[in-house]
Symmetry: C2
Subunit: 283 residues, 2 copies
């Protein structure tokens, strides 16, 4: 699954949410000669990203964001990393936001997919193209059939199949990307809480029928999801969470999953005795 690396002209903006992936994306783009401009949020974004030209944004600073993109000659933007949707009372709109308020408000009344679509549209109206992290850093895409030495056993393979069916169904309703299945039983379904939190809360729900590790995480794109802005992501924290909760492994879609640190993830999975396996994409 060879992908062409995007080396497009002009400055590449990276809107960097939480987690380890944004730094990896910036490093990759930098090493291939892109000029970068980072937009971060205090207490969310990895401070290592401040080695590039950097601006700190608050929720609601829509006008400032658009001005910064213009004044830094940004032609493209990558949106990457975890962002929790804000509580409405934490939103303080700046003056420039007012022109966008109708769209912002209508997006906020809707699922996460609706919000992301509205964000993409707003950037593109400004002439800033939204591109996927995997387009500037294809090496972060999980294209291997598996990572590490462990393999799902028969029950885990059945659980993966069941989880895939449930995950794609709930994804089609814009609910979430992840489910946990153990011995044929749906243990947890991700909605607004995010994958790490879903794994943590599932620890006490695991029944442990195999007297060892049991239960799998299945995380796949929502059908029709815009992979530029919401590609499923797993990382070392995912593996550690699954390991702590007693689960057996994780299954994701081949070519449609971002991994921040592939070697570290493989090592963590091998050390904990977990499998990391990939499934063919839906289409």
């Amino acid at each position: 699954m060879a992908r062409e690396r995007n080396k497009g002209p002009g400055t590449l903006a990276i809107f960097a949410g939480g987690g380890r992936i944004p730094l990896q994306v910036a490093n990759a783009a930098d090493s291939f000669g892109r000029t970068l401009f980072i937009l971060g949020m205090d207490e969310v974004t990895d401070p290592s990203l401040k080695k590039w030209p950097y601006a700190s944004l608050k929720w609601g600073e829509v006008g400032r964001l658009l001005k910064l993109l213009k004044s830094n000659s940004c032609t493209e933007i990558v949106l990457i990393g975890n962002v929790q949707r804000p509580h409405i009372k934490d939103l303080k709109f700046d003056f420039g936001a007012f022109a966008k308020i109708p769209r912002i408000l209508s997006a906020l009344v809707g699922g996460d997919g609706d919000v992301l679509n509205a964000v993409v549209k707003s950037f593109e109206e400004l002439g800033v193209k939204v591109i996927g992290a995997h387009e500037v850093a294809p090496e972060l895409c999980l294209t291997e059939k598996a990572l590490g030495k462990n393999k799902p056993d028969r029950q885990a393979r059945k659980d993966i199949e069941k989880g895939l069916n449930v995950a794609r169904t709930i994804g089609g309703l814009d609910v979430g990307q992840s489910v946990i299945v153990e011995s044929g039983r749906i243990v947890a379904v991700e909605a607004a809480e995010g994958t790490d939190e879903m794994i943590a809360r599932s620890a006490t729900l695991r029944l442990g029928k195999n007297h060892g590790r049991s239960g799998v995480l299945v995380k796949v794109p929502k059908p029709g999801q815009d992979l530029r802005v919401d590609m499923p992501t797993i990382g070392v924290a995912t593996i550690e969470g699954l390991a702590n909760a007693g689960f057996a492994g994780v299954a994701v879609e081949r070519g449609h999953t971002l991994v921040a640190e592939k070697d570290a993830l493989r090592a963590a999975a091998d050390k904990a005795g977990l499998f990391v396996t990939t499934l063919p994409p839906a289409d």
Copy 2:
């Protein structure tokens, strides 16, 4: 929706899980002249139920359960109240269980619906008919169009519609009965954790867009679910949980929902400013 009260012959066994409903069911059956035999579990079952002939069971005591039903001339059994599926290491099967082990094990590898179906089949092979709590205590069924004085506003009605669609879809996959929707966004989906726990964990996920109460719980039967053994239930605890988390109300299926203490639930909803509304059943 008039229902005929079951006054069947012989002793009525009640397998009483946790919560307030089992006592209400027993009281109703008793007041209509049924002879009762209660099967409870320590630290789960309301001790008030010990005023009737009572036996305490442990997980895995299948042989003892069947013997008790026979020696007490039970012709019917009601399974009612919350039961958490046990961790496999807490299961100690008694001698009488061995004949049933193949079915028990095959049920344990499966969803909660599969388990309940296997349990029903085991009782009926023994000549003990499984009946619904609503058949011995029809007054516990919520047949009103609403309880209390509060009504869903326009956004809440839209959230109910969306929640109903998601709940019936996930119910069809034997995932769970409940979802929470706020301003068009799926906040949480219930799987193995149970409704109260899902409500509690959703408190921090609520975005509070209306600067007041927002977000609804929708709880409906899984399509094709055996209503004798898994009728959706709400109670005062549900209302209190929703109130503490800031949600606006709850929607359930008319005629397909059990309420332990209707008056107390109505009072709790009115006090907290929550609505309790019912929807026409799917079929």
